[in-house]
Symmetry: C2
Subunit: 420 residues, 2 copies
């Protein structure tokens, strides 16, 4: 019989999550700052738990092809596929490199990444990374790789990125928790709806952008930032990764510290179970489709953006974002109930993220494996929906839950490891 | 007995209000564009119904003194007061000049004003005006007139105004109803809470501001705009004036088309009763005070910003803005109930302004004099609170209602005029 005090371990893990203070400090070239993404390996990062090319879904394959074209490592789609099939390209999860990426989440060395620092982390400052958000429509993260997709990516990484980086430095960095806290009072939930957060991001940077570029250059960057209501999603994801990682590695804790999907498998990690992933086949989301598309076109759930729910926002904060239902389906009452249900499976309430319509109650945070299985309630997730084929892109947005099996598997492993 | 069909008249008035399409088209010098504010008269505009200097409250007196100092028409406070007391300065309501101003609402010829056009107006395009919002603390609109207040005003009118004007023109104008509609889905109510609307305003103008000034100049304007969460209040007020005026002058209509306060009197105008004001003493708002102040320091209700409630936003849309209670007092439930109560006294629901938490129901709009008196329910108003003495400034924010007497007086006049 184990003498591990799980409740106490979960309290410690939750305290650490809440004590994290992620701050956006800059933008850099991924190959220069992301650990393990150097120049000498042909390695690409991707969303979710580990996956092989053979088992990879259409949108992830499309993004890998796009990244190889973007890096000049292949001249066309066939050449890119051939290189991967010959085993020349290593696919490695973002989560193994202190990074997170929405949807396919493919990050290659010459892409720009946001740099987020958590100076409050146990054991000293830690750094976390996410790529730049490309906006809507045909974009790499949804598996599109047409020439205009890569042109847009080049503009973002080479023109927007450096200006943003200088503006962030001139601004003295950005407190991302304060930004999210304010955005939750302005109808965002921080995952699918980031309209307010992206505007707050624009507000904080705009004067510095004006000084960091020529008038025309500044106008182009302000336009790119202001025209993308998801602009702040990626740095917010890196901040959520900082919070979730702070809770990771607490002996005896059943708190979930990562939920991520690669488009084939849904995987979770648990605080007290080290770096092991528990996986099961990802589910196809339910939601609203763009004209001309339906559920039959949808890829299973994909992306690292579930790090938002892991840190107590996204679907967990949906009561703060009643207007989101016009995008993901359902009614404002459903949105409220989504949050209320998540209190059932979490260890506590966020001390900085609050929901006005619930009397400023803190968002539910710290998914407890035990509660998920005791109640049979899996976490709720808001998500975009990708076409199942490579090269198409986003076809809708909706709601999904992880397969219950990943929690079963994790609890069995927990019992085995701790001798319950 | 009258043959006037009041219900039909109110339907026509409401249709006209909803058909207005106010568009922000530029910024100009007040003396160049506001009718009746030329160079040859010593005339100052002010909020609310007509008032004499003798009956004017502290904050209005302070703003009048400040405007005379600002215009160089007096060298100091005593000289300003002497000129007004000698009858050399005419005080005229903003509402008599197609203009609106928050709080004291004093507009003098060399101040910058937003120019809003309603091309959908019956009888051809109409233009409406409002001054630039000064931000918080010691500001002219709350009756402060210290040198730093006037310096800030000069910076706004002479530096920010022209750049904003050029940016608005480069942007091709701004659809202010679309902006308000989006802001209501982001936790604003459009009167006391304009955080989201001000950020949307910044987003629409930022790239154009970058092109309209030097890097340093653009940075200063972006900073002034981004640092003021009430920046968009004034153009929104002018848009609301366009909507309310569209409903004015319908024979037989009991809809209220203006509510305004000068700090001494609360006045309303009614669609079917011409330009006559119905007035009664203004009430002191209830709310939250800044540290060091209390209700004993408060001036009675002041300002033209009640034009927002007249057009179906502000307190009427408070259910959209649960986070506002941290600023004005009460609970999110009170905020919801405020909106629900206003459906009782209005002629219809707004077709463009909707509230997500009420299932996207349109905001209550078109205050019907008859319903106010039948039910004894007066309109709710969100407001800032000014210190009762000249020169101090804002001391809080809260909630207030008009005196019931103004509606009594208006209904008596209506009965007399139409022979009921």
């Amino acid at each position: 019989m184990s003498h591990v005090d799980v409740d106490r371990a979960n309290s410690i893990a939750l305290e650490r999550l809440l004590a994290a203070r992620p701050r956006l400090v800059g933008v850099a070239r991924a190959g220069d700052v992301v650990p393990g993404l150097g120049k000498n390996q042909l390695r690409l990062l991707h969303a979710g738990p580990p996956i092989t090319w053979e088992r990879a879904s259409g949108p992830l394959r499309g993004a890998v092809i796009g990244a190889l074209l973007y890096e000049g490592l292949a001249a066309n789609e066939a050449e890119a596929v051939a290189r991967v099939e010959r085993g020349e390209v290593e696919l490695s999860p973002c989560h193994h490199h202190a990074a997170v990426g929405p949807m396919a989440g493919v990050i290659s060395p010459s892409m720009a990444v946001y740099v987020v620092e958590d100076t409050a982390a146990t054991g000293g400052t830690r750094r976390f990374f996410s790529n730049l958000n490309e906006g809507y429509g045909k974009v790499l993260r949804y598996g599109a790789f047409a020439p205009e997709v890569l042109d847009r990516l080049r503009f973002l990484n080479e023109t927007v990125g450096p200006v943003l980086g200088e503006a962030i430095e001139r601004a003295g960095g950005i407190d991302l928790q304060a930004l999210v806290a304010e955005a939750l009072h302005m109808g965002d939930e921080g995952h699918n709806r980031n309209r307010a957060g992206s505007l707050l991001f624009l507000k904080l940077l705009a004067p510095h952008i004006a000084r960091a570029a020529s008038p025309g250059g500044a106008a182009a960057v302000l336009d790119a930032l202001g025209g993308n209501a998801l602009a702040v999603l990626n740095p917010v994801m890196a901040a959520c990764k900082a919070m979730a990682d702070a809770a990771h590695g607490v002996e005896g804790s059943t708190l979930v510290t990562a939920m991520a999907r690669n488009g084939t498998d849904f995987g979770i990690r648990v605080s007290g179970l080290g770096d092991r992933w528990f996986t099961a086949p990802a589910i196809v989301p339910e939601g609203l489709y763009f004209p001309g598309f339906s559920g039959a076109d949808a890829n299973p759930d994909i992306g690292d953006s579930t790090i938002t729910e892991t840190a107590g926002i996204g679907a967990f904060a949906m009561a703060a974002a009643p207007a989101i239902v016009s995008f993901v389906g359902g009614t404002p009452e459903d949105a409220k109930n989504a949050t209320l249900e998540m209190y059932e499976i979490t260890a506590g309430e966020h001390t900085r993220f609050t929901i006005p319509t619930l009397g400023f109650r803190g968002t539910p945070v710290g998914i407890d494996l035990r509660k998920v299985l005791e109640l049979g309630i899996t976490p709720r997730i808001n998500t975009g929906i990708a076409h199942r084929e490579a090269g198409v892109g986003q076809i809708g947005a909706g709601l999904v839950r992880p397969p219950l099996a990943v929690f079963h598997e994790a609890l069995l492993a927990f019992a085995e490891h701790y001798g319950f």
